[in-house]
Subunit: 75 residues, 2 copies
Amino acid sequence: AQIIIDLAQLDRIPPDKGGPLARYAAAIQTQRGDYNGRVLSIRADDLRTLAVIYDQPPGALAEELISWGVLNPEA
Amino acid sequence: AQIIIDLAQLDRIPPDKGGPLARYAAAIQTQRGDYNGRVLSIRADDLRTLAVIYDQPPGALAEELISWGVLNPEA
Ligand SMILES: Nc1nc2c(ncn2[C@@H]2O[C@@H]3COP(=O)(O)O[C@H]4[C@@H](O)[C@H](n5cnc6c(=O)[nH]c(N)nc65)O[C@@H]4COP(=O)(O)O[C@H]3[C@H]2O)c(=O)[nH]1
Ligand SMILES: Nc1nc2c(ncn2[C@@H]2O[C@@H]3COP(=O)(O)O[C@H]4[C@@H](O)[C@H](n5cnc6c(=O)[nH]c(N)nc65)O[C@@H]4COP(=O)(O)O[C@H]3[C@H]2O)c(=O)[nH]1
Ligand SMILES: Nc1nc2c(ncn2[C@@H]2O[C@@H]3COP(=O)(O)O[C@H]4[C@@H](O)[C@H](n5cnc6c(=O)[nH]c(N)nc65)O[C@@H]4COP(=O)(O)O[C@H]3[C@H]2O)c(=O)[nH]1
Ligand SMILES: Nc1nc2c(ncn2[C@@H]2O[C@@H]3COP(=O)(O)O[C@H]4[C@@H](O)[C@H](n5cnc6c(=O)[nH]c(N)nc65)O[C@@H]4COP(=O)(O)O[C@H]3[C@H]2O)c(=O)[nH]1
């Protein structure tokens, strides 16, 4: 189950909700030099890290990101 | 310092020496579905794993791979 972030959709989420994920994705893009994607695949570990950042259980965060259209439903 | 494996050069290393690295690289290529490269970049952690497989200190293994032309000298 791969974690694929839809960057175009993330751009449309209000910053008070999508901000932490947007900053995290931007940091990874910079570390890689990956500016080609409309998507960004990240590691399974990253979902746990993001769950700490969002102060939610990983499963609940995944549900929320799916409801925003930012994360693929199979994640 | 990125770990970039030259797959074309690796093909030319005798299997008794290059075999373990070739199998490891093939496993990563399969997990990714990455068949486009003549190079394969792997994680810093992977050098430590390979060092266990080759039963050498990571620095010594890196030196050997560089001497085969398989690993970039900056690694
Ligand atoms: N397709 C694929 N390639 C992989 C994978 N893991 C490693 N690589 C390749 O190996 C290079 C070095 O990985 P690193 O030492 O972990 O060093 C990485 C890592 O520390 C960090 N990074 C990049 N992407 C992610 C990510 O999605 N999550 C996290 N937590 N860190 C990342 O940035 C560094 C540089 O990244 P890159 O320039 O992309 O350079 C990466 C990439 O070319 C993988 O699962 N799939
Ligand atoms: N730029 C970018 N594109 C993404 C990302 N996630 C998904 N994609 C797109 O979706 C396909 C699958 O990506 P993947 O699972 O990372 O699987 C990739 C990846 O594992 C590997 N790969 C391709 N190019 C590179 C590269 O420049 N560096 C590294 N480290 N791996 C690569 O080969 C597989 C197949 O690649 P493609 O046929 O090109 O097809 C890729 C690419 O078109 C992302 O985070 N960034
Ligand atoms: N030890 C090791 N394992 C590897 C390597 N490449 C791939 N894998 C394993 O294969 C899984 C799928 O890789 P992917 O299709 O490239 O799909 C990857 C890739 O699209 C992206 N990704 C993760 N780390 C990096 C990175 O450092 N650089 C780049 N460019 N993409 C990354 O996130 C996706 C999911 O990553 P994971 O959940 O970690 O899941 C990864 C990881 O378990 C490698 O060089 N070394
Ligand atoms: N997860 C994922 N990440 C992607 C994908 N395509 C590109 N990237 C990310 O975007 C960076 C630049 O890719 P590039 O311009 O295609 O240019 C790449 C590519 O042409 C080549 N390259 C280096 N290592 C690999 C590798 O392991 N596999 C492949 N297929 N190409 C590689 O060298 C350049 C630098 O590679 P990286 O350091 O890996 O850095 C890559 C990688 O972090 C993708 O499909 N999935």
